[in-house]
Symmetry: C2
Subunit: 232 residues, 2 copies
DNA sequence: CTGACCACAACTTTCGAAATTATAGGTGTA
DNA sequence: TACACCTATAATTTCGAAAGTTGTGGTCAG
């Protein structure tokens, strides 16, 4: 039942509906990543159940899941809070993620087949459609960019053999997303060389040049994190 | 209301009650780690609520938490299952854990103070009390050994600076525990050189010899995993 | 004026029933 | 006989209310 095409405000309703239909877990994580809730803010059940229109049980399940992902903290009897942020944590997360991502892309280059290659090209294209846009239009579709950016990096390493390597990498990536958000409103952060960097990473990966791809990815991630630290 | 002292079967009721009083999450994890539920077995709510005497909501929260820890899998509408096991996964988990643990112990050696040292000695002593026992008595207290063993390795790295390093290390340790369980009933696995190995690791760590401690830990973990693989 | 104690309010946590969704078995038709 | 559909059953998933806890403000004794 997708009557989106009948809605007069098409472009808005498309993104809006997609956001609304996702489950509470995803919506809550998105709201925390995008600083909708400030770090260390209390997450009260009364407000949350109204905001997301779900029962307390469902909400509790989502919150406890987010706590094991590291996005919220929980203290017995005191409820849930948004996890704090710090420059030290960002530095550590960055190091772990780079470490994982480099190993993962190496494995993917070694084992990836035609489907893997094709998917990278496809996903990169969708990312470049947004990154090629002028500054203002990119800002409007920032949440879409976040999603495409995630898909692109995930596609790069999706052929890696280690299930846990992929899993650990993804945990760190989600955490990085939270810090990446602070660079949103700066032209350098949200634009700059991103377009070329992603293109170069893709080229090196498809050329099966693991050393080059690794080093490009490391620079790419470290640059972004260093910009974020200055803005924290 | 702990009328344990009135119970005639004291030693049994003490350990039993301690197990019963822990929350559902811990009990369920213990039951999965100790192969109480076979890998890939379905975890039905009807049976679970009776077994642990909790409501479906509480159970659901525990299960979804365990799914993000990797102990159970969940498919929307199909319920929860115990996560599968494989030799490949054990090898990967072992590599990740050794990697984390070596870095963590290095950091701990660098930053650890007197409290850290004292705690290691104390926790190692409690571990050695069990490991010094003859074979049959050790078997009886296997679940206690698991707990002490966890505490010992945790104490070694508890002074490491990286919060996420510690966290990631702990996730891998819990996963290893599940595989370690298969070596339970073999004399070599559950005894052998464990006593001396743990003592040597402690000595090297307290002597602040990071290189030696790292290499001893790597051997220690890898030996155990290789034994487990043969029995899988 | 200070400190402790008590009662009230707000919030978290848990439970069991109701609604929804998947599964298996059986019936009818080609 | 094979295939599809429909029904009954069994499971998951969600919700709202009740029970339990923690925090707070006020009162009374010292």
């Amino acid at each position: 039942m997708p009557p989106n095409s009948l809605d007069p405000t098409i472009s808005q309703s498309l993104t809006r509906d997609r956001a609304e239909n996702r489950d509470v877990l995803t919506r809550l994580r998105t709201d925390i990543v995008s600083s909708e809730f400030a770090p260390e803010a209390r997450l009260k059940f009364a407000e949350m159940t109204k905001r997301y229109d779900v029962g307390v049980g469902t909400l509790r399940e989502a919150l406890s899941q987010l706590s094991s992902e590291g996005f919220v903290t929980v203290e017995a009897g005191k409820g849930f809070r948004v996890a704090p942020v710090s420059a030290e944590e960002l530095l550590e997360i960055t190091d772990h993620f780079i470490n994982f991502e480099k190993r993962a892309v190496r494995e993917a280059i070694e084992h990836g087949g035609e489907d893997w290659e094709t998917n990278i090209v496809a996903v990169h294209h969708r990312l470049s459609l947004i990154e090629g846009l002028p500054w203002e239009r990119r800002m409007e579709r920032h949440s879409e960019w976040v999603e495409r950016h995630r898909e692109f990096h995930e596609a790069l390493v999706s052929a890696c053999q280690g299930q846990w390597l992929f899993r650990l990498r993804s945990i760190m990536f989600d955490q990085l997303d939270r810090y990446r958000f602070v660079t949103k409103r700066t032209p350098e952060g949200m634009g700059g060389r991103k377009f070329e960097e992603h293109r170069d990473i893709m080229t090196a990966t498809l050329a099966r040049d693991a050393d080059l791809a690794s080093s490009l990815i490391e620079q790419h991630i470290r640059d972004t994190s260093e910009r974020a630290i200055k803005l924290l």
